[in-house]
Amino acid sequence: MSGFWRRFATNRGAVAGCVVFALVLAMAAFAPWIAPGDPWSMAGPPRTDAFDPEHWLGTDMLGRDVWATIVHGARVSLLVGGGATLAAVLIGVSIGAVAGYLGGVADDLLMRFTEFFQSIPSFILALLIVAIFQPTVGSIVVAVAIVSWPPVARVVRAEFMSLRSREFVQAAVVLGQGTWTIVLRQILPNALSPIVVLSSFMVATAILLEAALSFLGLGDPNVMSWGFMIGSGRSTIRIAWWTSVFPGIALFLTVLSLNLIGEGISDALNPRLHERGAA
């Protein structure tokens, strides 16, 4: 693994991504200390200009501090990004593993099921799910997970299909290991790298999806999120640009950092590309 870290560390983009993402993580973790109080509270005069000494990212039309909303919004973004990705990976790996390992009729059925989800435009499906259930953080996580798992399932299935016929798997079979042991101990660890790469991109996509839902007014009305801020600031963008621009920048940087990290991991794990990151 040390080779992996060395290769990863030489990729400047990936390191920068890590730094930015660590900052976002810290912001979310220490939100109550960085920006104390309720982000919804009217902390100052409405529409205070950005770069005001007291509210250095300005306030929105109700006087909410934009900086506080960004700090607290990071929690929701990461919660939805992380939660939805975790759920999507669990669903995707389970379905992909069964389909890839068993093959045959099970594979056919599971893949048609997967294709069913892939054939529906994912954002529309997410909108529909959130609209049917009340918009809450929980329903948003579920909606994002439901539209995100099919690619995982397909990747895992392909990995399992190729690994199943490898000699070390056949050796395990000969040694009398049970199916579960083979799947979890032998194949899954070897299929992990594409899953990790895919996950880091999925977190970014999930954060964007949540922001898009909130932007359209389908976010959880009880929590502060970046998409909500961008959406609510949009109407007054001509007179108070900072209310949507700064949350937009936060969203942009977070998603960019996750993409850089994902690419860094992908490059570092791919032996054929050893030199690219270092160049």
């Binding site: 309720d38 919804w40 509270s41 009217m42 409405p46 039309m61 109700l62 006087g63 009340q134 918009p135 007014g217 389908l218 009305p221 009880n222 609510s232 109407s235 007054t236 001509r238 007179i239």
Partner: protein, 536 residues
């Protein structure tokens, strides 16, 4: 004409934007627009597009604005809500207050060329609106007889005196339709009549062309009863679904008039500062829209008047008007809007004070829990757009300061109306038209006899025998003074009980080209006939 010179001076950027806006309007080029303007054409907008252009068949706001030009009522109303001539040139009410006699205008012709007569009026009141419009039916059921004395005279006898009856004859309430179009049809047939596609009125303008999703073109009614009117040749309502494009259309002079829902409140200050435009907040007296925080008295502890008063004191109404509505509208001071008759200016709501509100909740025995929360309620915001969302956030924040936690639930417009009607809410936001008189538009929210599972009734469940009695006195009295006294007492009791937390007298700005004359003249504003509207 200085107008065209001014138009040609507009910047290149604006012309580009104008070209973009011109696209959805089909083949009409910018030149064609300029030409149309020379010929006395007023181009305006309508948002959203009306489904049909017959009042009574459809009574939504946009329908009433357009059909106000095509049809006429017996009366019109000035900004003091005094009746003015419409299809009736004069009218009289007998001393008992039960017999109304309308003398009609002479020489009135329907758009299809047939002559108008008193029979059309009788048909419109007793059959058309009685069967199609629930609001009119509730009032017109008080009519004992309605007959045409001769071709120019209509006499209505009421079963009992009903003073606000005289407010029922605007074109937006009781448009006069042609009997020969609907004769012999039942309610369903009238509602679905093919003739509804070609509205036939007596108004100053007739429907000339309607490209759905694009524009409605009204042309001058050549045989309009008032000689020399209307002053405009054409009136075009463009349908522009995007609010930014509507703003650009107005800025570039593509349209010269914007009505309610066309321009967002946060853009209004820009037009107020612009020399080329006039922003008129008047012309809503007949409707008197009043917004409030609607409380369900069945949800504990909202049945306690002290709690409701405390919640009311937590809201800074001036903040709401100035910051959320950008000064478009007025802070409410009473359950009866200041535009509505019998508003009592001496009535005041308790002043904004978070401290006093907290003290009152303590007094009501609602102690704060360990986390500072006294009690928790569901909050259902009004899903009418961004400003209403901001209002919801403001209310939740202010109530939160008192230790009243509001848990927001998101609903769409249909769900909102359904849950309101089913009493399935704790706290929501509502606004209602008052129709000029408290008996017509205020009473319904507060009398215990109107506690119904129907939206815009007394859904909150407030019941006070004295209030019921006072509204009854006001309803049945023919004397304006007696009614005034009853309404004054009602207002005093209601601001003590705070059955609902009145927020704002809403105003919908009319923004128009400064050269346009006589746009907002009466109490119904942009809904009026526009016979006198002209350029310069």
């Amino acid at each position: 004409m200085t107008s065209r010179i001014a138009a040609s001076r507009r910047t290149v950027a604006k012309s580009v934007a104008a070209a973009l806006v011109a696209t959805p309007f089909g083949t009409m080029t910018r030149q064609a627009w300029a030409q149309a303007r020379r010929a006395g054409t007023l181009t305006t907008m309508i948002t959203p597009e009306p489904p049909i252009l017959v009042p009574g068949v459809n009574n939504q706001g946009p329908t009433l604005i357009v059909t106000g030009k095509i049809f006429e009522g017996l009366l019109t109303y000035n900004q003091k809500l005094e009746p003015q001539p419409g299809l009736a040139q004069s009218w009289s009410i007998d001393a008992a207050g039960t017999t109304y006699t309308f003398n009609l205008q002479t020489g009135v012709t329907w758009h299809d060329g047939k002559p108008f007569s008193a029979d059309d009026v009788v048909f419109s009141i007793m059959k058309f609106h009685m069967e199609l419009s629930p609001r009119s039916r509730a009032i017109f059921q008080r009519i004992d007889t309605c007959v045409a004395k001769d071709a120019q005279t209509v006499e209505i006898r009421l079963k009992a005196p009903f003073e606000p009856f005289i407010l029922m004859f605007d074109v937006t309430t009781c448009a006069i339709v042609a009997k020969h179009v609907y004769d012999g049809m039942d309610a369903a047939a009238m509602r679905n009549a093919p003739a509804n596609q070609t509205p036939n009125g007596t108004g100053p303008f007739k429907l000339a062309e309607w490209q759905r999703g694009n524009f409605i073109r009204l042309a001058k009614h050549d045989k309009y009863s008032q000689a020399g009117k209307p002053l405009l040749d054409e009136l075009i309502y463009r349908v522009i679904p995007d609010s930014n494009l509507r703003g650009v259309a107005l800025q570039t002079g593509q349209v010269q008039l914007a009505g309610p829902n066309d321009i967002e409140a946060f853009d209004v200050p820009r037009y107020q500062a612009d020399q080329n435009f006039k922003v008129d907040l008047d012309g809503w007296q007949y409707y008197g829209p009043l917004s409030w925080i609607e409380l369900n008295h069945r949800s504990k502890p909202l049945g306690d008047a002290r709690v409701r008063r405390a919640l009311s004191m937590a809201i800074d109404r001036n903040f709401v008007v100035q910051r959320l509505w950008f000064g478009v509208g007025k802070a409410a001071t009473s359950p009866i809007s200041s535009a509505t008759r019998f508003h009592d200016p001496s009535v005041r709501l308790e002043a904004f004070s978070e401290q006093a509100a907290n003290a009152l909740l303590d007094e009501a025995g609602l102690r704060r829990g360990a986390d500072g929360t006294r009690f928790e309620l569901k909050f259902m915001g009004l899903p009418y757009g961004e400003i209403w969302n901001r209002l919801g956030e403001y209310i939740r924040q202010q109530f939160g300061k008192l230790g009243v936690r509001l848990v927001a639930e998101s609903v769409d417009a249909g769900t909102w109306a359904r849950k309101l009607a089913e009493w399935d809410y704790d706290v929501t936001v509502n606004f209602v038209y008052q129709w000029g008189d408290p008996t017509l538009g205020v009473e319904r929210t507060y009398v215990s006899t109107n506690i119904q599972k129907i939206a815009f009734t007394n859904t909150g469940g407030y019941a006070n025998p004295r209030v019921d009695e006072l509204f009854k006195v006001a309803r049945e009295s023919q004397s304006a003074d007696a009614r005034r006294a009853a309404f004054a007492e009602v207002q005093k009791i209601l601001v003590q009980d705070m059955p609902q937390l009145w927020l704002m007298e809403l105003a919908f700005p009319t923004i128009h080209d400064r050269r346009l004359r006589n746009v907002i003249t009466g109490g119904t504003g942009v809904h009026a006939g526009f016979a006198d509207v002209s350029f310069g």
